[in-house]
């Protein structure tokens, strides 16, 4: 006998659209409101919803903390890496103009990569923070602590 069957089903139905929406915000950020940071938060909140409904153990199975930590470092590393790519292609640090033959296309590539790095870092950081807090829930609150 499952409790909250409706909620479980609703959450299951909601999570894929949220992830899809996060990707839309990520890649449509150049044209409308949005960008890496917002997309990262929405992406993470989909996982947080999953964790809320199905429990922390299940969330850990899907997104283990060690992997999340590495992703966090990788996201920021990607941003810095794009910066170094600017130096390597003969421009200044974070200069995207030479990432492609045409400066404007280069800017597009640079902004795309940078936003991707931000999105990765933010999503994984939020998830890591949530997992850290959730992992500590070991004590029962009594009624009069309310």
């Amino acid at each position: 006998m499952k409790h909250h069957l409706i909620l479980l089903m609703a959450a299951k139905l909601m999570i894929p659209p949220i992830l899809l929406f996060a990707l839309y915000v990520q890649f449509h950020g150049d044209y409308g409101p949005g960008g890496g940071f917002q997309a990262g938060v929405i992406f993470a909140s989909a996982f947080i919803l999953y964790g809320l409904v199905f429990g922390l153990d299940e969330l850990r199975r899907v997104a283990p903390l060690s992997a999340v930590t590495k992703l966090m470092a990788a996201g920021w590393g990607l941003y810095i890496g794009v910066g170094y790519a600017g130096v390597a292609t003969g421009g200044m640090f974070l200069d995207y103009g030479r990432l492609s033959s045409d400066p404007i296309a280069g800017q597009h590539t640079g902004i795309f990569l940078v936003e991707l790095g931000v999105g990765m870092a933010v999503a994984s950081t939020m998830l890591a923070i949530y997992q850290c807090f959730a992992a500590h829930q070991s004590r029962e609150l009594t009624d009069d602590e309310w």
Partner: protein, 102 residues
Amino acid sequence: MLAAGVISVLGAMVLALVRLFLGPSTYDRVLAVNMFGTKVILLIAIFGFLTGRPDFLDIALAYAMINFISTIAILKFAGYYKITEPMTRPPASSTIPARRPG
């Protein structure tokens, strides 16, 4: 027409806030917060049309999702006192403790 919509939504928001402040029980407040969130979404949608930039519906969409998630978080917290338990199990106590005046 749209302006009238904005005004009525604002009125509804004020009413929701009143319930939020007074709300004797937690349920009242949760409902009020959720309704307040819904009204904000509506407000943004109408406002987008009012200023001629309907492409901002994106934001309203995002709000709807966030509002859903935070309401679930609040409710889960109210029912279980903690956020790790999977919701496939029954809550720790089946009733939300009565609000004390505060």
